[in-house]
Point group: C2
Chain length 352, copies 2
């Protein structure tokens, strides 16, 4: 097909890249066809949690350890936004996906750059400085890379691609929830998505609408140290927000999740923007948070460990897993319960 | 910076993405700043051939083996071209970079898709079928992925990102050439680049202008089995063609390379297109070839092994390394010697 022809038949939609139900359908219908079944050995790896698992990344067994591998393309617009930029997002996004599989130390990253002809060299250097700083913060190192330049007009700006590797002694899946387990979040919700909306001029820029973009591997390490095997599930709540993350976790685990609205940590600026725009902050992307499923007897210890970390001061126990309503997420508003929907798409394209 | 502002100062140029000298300068000036020095241990890895080495990929030491990691973004246009498509290119490109470091078995791949809103679903499925077929051919498996959709007009078509992992018992670098070593190529030169030129209507489409895109890991495996430690250097001659590959190998190894023009394997259609357009086929990208540096006493055995493989029938010994002219590539035309220049940029953007 010439790229100027209008395709007939079905085409890819923005919602299919937005982290919700539409994206999962696309992945299942196109990309999972013929994929490696989970747990099948491959080459040097005796066991594999693969594509089929649709977790934050893959886990490849090497002797008594697991090599976790995860990949992300970063298309955020604008490239520089309140609280961060695409470089910090690229490193944090990959480090956080590794951490969400239980791999919190010494990530090794590959780094692909696709840039539009005419992009300012100074901005590229600024992004690169931010990449280095995020690597330093998280203990990650870039070991290999690739650079492509696209002609002016064929790409708007800059796309980064990071793939990360790190070892885990134990892989923490997103499917490990059991009735009775507590749901914890490591801090305030929706900060990244609302910051991007503000940066795009969709809402007035409030100084407190800042992205939370940060590598949370240190925070996850502290939580795992405090909770041990009592930390039964982890997930990185990016596109689609906490709602999407919990829907996936609930569906894969076969439990319902009951959230306590009063316990959800929200910045006042996010709360205000959410009410103004009628956007549920549970549907909005986070880039420096982690969702944890924790056995009830370990919830207090894990919460204390999270709160002792600079990135976890606003951590909270926000819900409980129940045997009923399998695959559903319910919100207790204090006046009754409502169903938390899974977002179809994202607020705006290029949120991360 | 808003993406509509015109940047002042230096900007990124097409040549900086074209695999030649301009790209190396950009990498050195921007991306290598603060990068991990080669051979420094990191996390679980006791030794590392990293970004600084600018080889086909990184190599991370794990006990007595090396885990090789390589990454590529694929922006080829058109997406479907004579002899292949972007899906086959993505898998082959990554498998070949791994093979060029000596890692020829059971690659594990991550797969990132960035697609324009409105892209035909049917084409995406066709690309995906091609990805699966190339995985089957090369014994590779995709274990994790990511999908992003960009609004119509912000990306022309489809970009794929693959990162590969595979083990090598011995890492074969691109810097291992010594005076006296022979240079071998596994087949005809320039096929991919001329096929793309033809597909873009720059030259008349000749049925014999077909991309060579193919995974060559099996071919490299056969060469390594035949030559053992006598295979002293490997390189994947993609952007910038054989000339760029040999310039890098010669400069890093501190030798000169003397090519024999009469020995260079060229398809008649490529020869004709090259003469018509005045483009040196040595400057043109290959996507299913390997360049080998082989100790003289092993050259015949390696050549025989290459020729016995379906992808290596046109393999040839094309040159010799010399102690003089360090870092240079010379061509013996039969009438004298001329310097083979390193290409500044590529023929057209989005060649791979």
């Amino acid at each position: 097909m010439s790229r100027r022809e209008r395709p007939r038949g079905a085409t890819v939609t923005l919602a299919q890249g937005a982290g919700g139900r539409a994206m999962r359908a696309l992945i299942e219908e196109v990309f999972l066809k013929g994929a490696l079944p989970s747990a099948r050995p491959h080459g040097a790896f005796s066991e594999c949690v693969g594509l089929e698992a649709q977790d934050d990344g893959a886990a490849l067994r090497l002797g008594d350890r697991w090599l976790v591998m995860t990949t992300d393309s970063h298309v955020v617009l604008p490239i520089f936004f309140p609280g961060g930029d695409i470089g910090r997002l690229a490193v944090a996004g990959t480090v956080n996906d590794l951490a969400a599989m239980g791999a919190t130390d010494g990530a090794v990253l590959s780094f692909g750059v696709v840039v539009e002809e005419g992009f300012a060299r100074e901005d590229l250097e600024r992004v690169q400085a931010s990449v280095r700083e995020a690597c330093r913060e998280s203990g990650a190192t870039i070991v290999t890379g690739d650079t492509k330049v696209m002609p002016r007009g064929e790409l708007s700006g800059l796309v980064l691609h990071t793939t990360g590797l790190a070892f885990a002694d134990r892989v923490v899946r997103d499917a490990g929830l059991r009735p009775g387990d507590r749901i914890l979040v490591s801090g305030t919700l929706g900060d990244h998505g609302f910051a991007i909306l503000a940066a795009r001029g969709r809402i007035e820029l409030d100084a407190d609408l800042r992205s939370d973009v940060a590598p949370v591997n240190g925070l996850v390490r502290a939580a795992l140290a405090a909770g041990g095997p009592g930390v039964v599930a982890l997930k990185d709540p990016t596109r689609g927000g906490l709602a999407s993350a919990l829907h996936e976790m609930a569906a894969k685990s076969g439990v319902g999740v009951l959230l306590d609205e009063a316990a959800l940590p929200l910045r006042p600026a996010v709360q205000a923007a959410s009410e103004l725009l009628g956007i549920d902050p549970l549907h909005v992307a986070n880039e420096g948070k982690i969702v944890l499923g924790v056995a009830p007897e370990k919830a207090a210890a894990v919460l204390a460990a999270l709160r002792a970390h600079p990135l976890g001061r606003d951590a909270a126990v926000v819900g409980t897993c129940v045997a009923e309503h399998a695959g559903r997420v319910l919100l207790d508003t204090g006046f009754g319960r409502r169903i938390v929907t899974e977002p179809e798409g994202d607020l705006v394209p290029r949120i991360c």
